[in-house]
């Protein structure tokens, strides 16, 4: 299992939110499910990051009341914080994707020759 670096986690979270609005727990599940368990974004890094994304205006948020038990109909439900990508967030995601492609194409110039067995001898 890999623990994501901050830069990558932002990319991953923004990408998850680009598909649909979501909330903290669902985001962490989506990251684990999508990476088939390879990536782990624990609460201790997820929630501080979501807070930063919100402060930077990359995500918009709203609250939903979730009721889990109607045995006591007067009881207050718990509150769920939903996150959705803002226009600024979409821009940031596009920047991340571009940076990722750039880094990858640079790495490819090393990886491809090495994979063909030329890199080490030349």
């Amino acid at each position: 299992m890999l623990t994501l670096k901050p830069d990558h986690s932002e990319l991953v979270v923004l990408a998850v939110l680009a598909e649909a609005p979501s909330y903290g727990y669902a985001i962490s599940k989506a990251v684990a499910a999508r990476s088939e368990g390879h990536f782990r974004l624990g609460p201790s890094s997820l929630y501080p990051m979501l807070t930063k994304l919100e402060k930077q205006g990359l995500v918009d948020t709203d609250w939903e009341e979730v009721k889990a038990d109607t045995a006591d109909p007067d009881a207050e439900g718990r509150k769920r914080k939903w996150y959705r990508l803002s226009a600024k967030g979409q821009k940031r995601l596009a920047q991340h994707i571009e940076a990722y492609h750039r880094a990858r194409s640079i790495l490819d110039t090393f990886v491809a020759p090495a994979a063909e067995g030329r890199g080490a001898t030349q």
Binding site: A20, Y23, G24, G42, P43, Y47, D60, A71, K79
Partner: protein, 535 residues
Amino acid sequence: MTRVSKPADPVRPSTPDPVDAWLDVLVAMLAIPKPDRQRVRDELEDHLRSRIDDLLIHGLTEPQALQKAVAELGETADLARQLSHAHKPPRTRRYAMHALLIALTGTVVALGVNTMRPHASLPAASASPQASEQASAVSSAALVKLRDQTLGSFFESFKAGIDRPVLVHWGRMQDLGIAADTPLELEIDAVSADVAFDLVAEGTADFGDQIAILERPGLIEIGLRSQFDRRTMERRTYDVAPLVGYRSANPDSGETSRRPPFGNTATVSEGARGIAMLLENHASPNDWVTRGGDLARYSIMGTTIIVTAPERIHQEIASMIEELVRKQWEVERAGLEAAQHRAREIADTVRELEAHYQSLFEEWSSLLRSRGEAFLDTGEVDTDRLEIIEFQRRDLADRMQSIRLRQSVLRSTHDNLVREWGFAAALEATRSRPTQEVPAAEVFYFTEEVSNARAAVIIPQGGTVRISQVLADHGYSPGPDETVFVYHRKAGEPREKFYRTTVKAIFSSPDADRNIGPGDSISVSGVFRRAPERR
């Protein structure tokens, strides 16, 4: 898939709750403002309880689930420190505010300097654009020669070039020691009358700046400025609302943008006070009573400045305010255009999303039709097939729901833009709400046979029904006190609410036995039993 044969008890007992206790400890460690603390607490509570619910479904006992969920959050102190750090306000915001203030101040100062070119010696040929566009009798007058002249002979040659009678108030001027034989120490051969007058006023420092010309229909008067000032003393009111953020008006068309005022009334009259000080500083500063002069006075009421001053100062004020309004409108218009552009973009996106929604809806409907294939002639249900169809349908429904959510967010952004900027071009596309929703009320349920799948019963009729009625119609009995989840999405609402309740409660409690309206979508998941009398 985990078969849930005996649902877990509710996670929240009435005795002190371990989740609450843990949250209390965490929140106490947070170094952030109180309202933020509550929100952090709410969010982490949702996380913990969702996680615990999941772990319970996977077969853990409640204490195990709780322990694992809390352990996953990591060291409490570490989490508190990271959350506190994330909540620190970004510094850039404060800098940006300062930058804005500086920019605004700069604009106002620049405007003041720009519009307040002193033109004191020619009060009637004022600095206002209208006046300068009209051909003034003085400025269009013939050329004047200034060489070896006295003030008297200068006025004589001045008179010669003007087609209107000129009255020189020698009597008044003599009180200040200015007479017809006062020499002019200027030498220039030919210059237009208005320039010559300026030169005379400037070049004779002892008295020049006290002489003024007053242009009237059929008469031009030359006399003391104080004399003309007293004669033209007048009280006027200036509405500076457009300058203090109430509304901005296009000075040419009167078109307004109804932007709400900045802040409260106190801020607005503070703004008016600022404008008044600007006028004081730039429109003949020495004449204001507030600055030691004895001519001009003002009072402020709300966004109105009442000024008592001679005509020449009123002209300076009017031209200054007009210039400020014009600049303000230019800035505002740029914002307005940007807002309109953004609103059009939003409308386009909403339309695109609608097309996408419709295509998903088609797919969803065709799955609905193909679901009949899972119900075999023998009365049995092909549960595998049904499971797949329902899974796909659920997935589509989720995507459709997220489109609706996105549209509703976009619409509210659009509404805010329209409200804030007050432009009338309400875009039709974003107004017309889609009429086609998921059509029939439906009930999905788990059966004992297909534990985690969602088998379905279609309720063909419209109108309002209750969950218990639907279940009873399809042969289901109240059953034992087993937990089920009811997911209810009301027509037109983007997001479904879910409630945990019991089969028994659905049949016995009005709160649990909800109404299903036309267009609503409802699913009930859990394990409950068919009544023995069915089939």
